[in-house]
Symmetry: C2
Subunit: 356 residues, 2 copies
């Protein structure tokens, strides 16, 4: 059975959105009473978390369900914490990458920069935007752990879950640091690129949320091991798809410019594979445009052509297929109940065949 | 009885330092196993928290003791959480203010920028420094709540304390936002300056840590009210002293350039008082140098002379005296035990007569 919109099963996507709304409405009040200006920070986060695929929340929920947890409101609150953590990660990441756009709208630091420009305030609008975005991210990080701990799960469950959550947050930041470090050092090679995406994205997006859900439920060790196999494989496949979308994605659906990762000079696994396979002429042509934010569409076309011609694209598609098989057979294991099995199966497609 | 070094009573300063060290040693291991490079982030925080007055930790501890809590290790761990939160606040604040120096050493973003420059890495060293410092701050914020919750206090105590801690973190970020907003808007007037310092500094440095300690101890409401009176008055006095140090402080002891707040264009209460009292010639002369990071020492001397000549300095000293009296009489209340009373009394001097 293939479920078309697995994030809708048990209304997880919608209920998480509703919970985030309720939570932020409560948080808004004391902050607005300090000053109406401060309410802008809350409203920015409200708007930010109204978008997104909520994959991490969905994986947390199905980690819980697969490990035997019942559908209930407390787990929705815990799932909402994932989206708040993700808000912090993206908002701070956009500052670090100087990204202009996120989820089809101006990134948070650009929104505050625009406020500065509109008001003709003194000082640098860019600095004001950066400062505000750092604080909005800090608030989101704070709210993430508040949500988890306010989830009305038992103390024992929360103690098990908090340990995973803490590890997850630290790994995420470690992965983001490795990312900017490897970009700065221009470290070549698929191995270092894979290490970055393992921590920055693969574990953080799928393995850890699943594991956190399962830990909260206190599932049996065999199920937890199974979810881990599924999560690691799918997490890597998810990220490799991200690499492909960053180069070949349609800007109308990704909300980012065509070839964005190439313009940004992101040393993804796909790029590492390309350079490993390129002959010297291809290497020269590729490096001429790579990381040049001002590269024109011809240069982008040349680079994407090389990714294609070297066979790097096909190779990454193969890797995705292999990882997908591992995840699918884990999802089919009879240890899992039928619903969890079907949803986890469908989430494999959702995470690897997505268009944005 | 005046205690000369109140932060040393019960060895709080030293024990908090030891606890921070132990905690970070444990945190270092899994992160170093991802990559030795990531260990740099932990080492940066270790070095950062080895300095500082640890005032917030000391106030948390004495809030706990004054409310009847016994000396014990769990409360030292909770107190250590205050220093980790402060690390996040300062590291992110320095990014926002583009400060070069903190605690007599290069600020965290400058340290990472130097690493980038030393390695002749690609891209902007300043951007790399900013990115790394955002992540180091995020880790510190994460570690702050881990420390509080790992403190081995009872669930009931932690539930009471967590609520205060959450409010405190949100207020801090709100205060920091108001700060950058008021600077950008160049909002004049002592009232808005006072609102900024109330949230960004006064509540956060003294009132909230005291209240958090007392909440963890579950003290009686009269004692908590007393601590609040003490905390608000002393917090404001503390911040006004900060304003004076930012203009008149000796750079050898503050670790910041002479007249730093004037060069930075910080609209402190002291500056607001100065402008309120200045005649038009003084205003013109003051505004000529204010916020000009390149102002020479003559311009700084002119500005500090105006702060003095308008009577703003004397007025702020008077305000400090009044607030100090309020705090001292709260500390002398017979509701408090003799030791807490003596320490809180001495902390008034420490916070208001300090030289850095």
């Amino acid at each position: 059975m293939e479920i078309e919109e697995p994030w809708q099963v048990d209304d997880v996507h919608e209920r998480v959105g509703k919970r985030l709304n309720e939570f932020l409405t409560v948080q808004r009040r004391p902050l607005a009473s300090i000053s109406p200006d401060v309410a802008d920070l809350v409203d920015t986060v409200s708007h930010f978390v109204s978008g997104g695929k909520r994959l991490r929340a969905v994986f947390l929920y199905w980690g819980w369900r697969a490990a035997g947890g019942p559908d209930c409101e407390p787990i929705i609150t815990a799932a909402a914490a994932m989206e708040m953590l993700q808000a912090c990660a993206l908002i701070h990441d956009d500052v670090m990458d100087r990204s202009d756009v996120r989820r089809g709208a101006p990134s948070v630091h650009r929104q505050f920069q625009a406020k500065h420009d509109d008001g003709s305030w003194s000082g640098s609008g860019a600095d004001f935007g950066t400062g505000a975005a750092i604080l909005v991210g800090d608030l989101s990080l704070t709210w993430a752990d508040m949500l988890l701990l306010e989830s009305d799960l038992s103390h024992t469950a929360l103690a098990r879950g908090k340990a995973v959550f803490d590890e997850m947050r630290c790994e995420l930041m470690a992965g983001q640091y490795l990312d900017i470090l490897e970009q700065a050092r221009s470290t070549p090679g698929a191995e270092s690129a894979m290490r970055v995406i393992t921590y920055k994205s693969a574990k953080y997006t799928i393995e850890r949320p699943l594991q956190l859900g399962a830990a909260l439920a206190g599932g049996n060790p065999d199920v937890i091991k199974l979810l881990q196999t599924y999560g690691i494989a799918l997490g890597q496949a998810f990220q490799l798809r991200d690499d492909l979308l960053g180069v070949f994605g349609d800007s109308a659906t990704t909300g980012k410019p065509a070839g964005d990762d190439l313009l940004q000079g992101k040393r993804t696994v796909l790029v590492a594979q390309t350079l490993d396979r390129a002959n010297s002429q291809q290497q020269t042509e590729f490096e001429a445009g790579f990381g040049k934010i001002t590269a024109n569409s011809d240069m982008v076309a040349t680079m994407t052509g090389i990714v294609e011609a070297t066979g790097a694209r096909a190779h990454v598609e193969e890797q995705i297929d292999e990882l997908t098989s591992v995840a699918l057979s884990a999802a089919a294991d009879p240890l899992l109940d039928a619903t969890s099995s079907a949803v986890l199966d469908s989430l494999v497609s959702a995470a690897t065949r997505r268009k944005y």
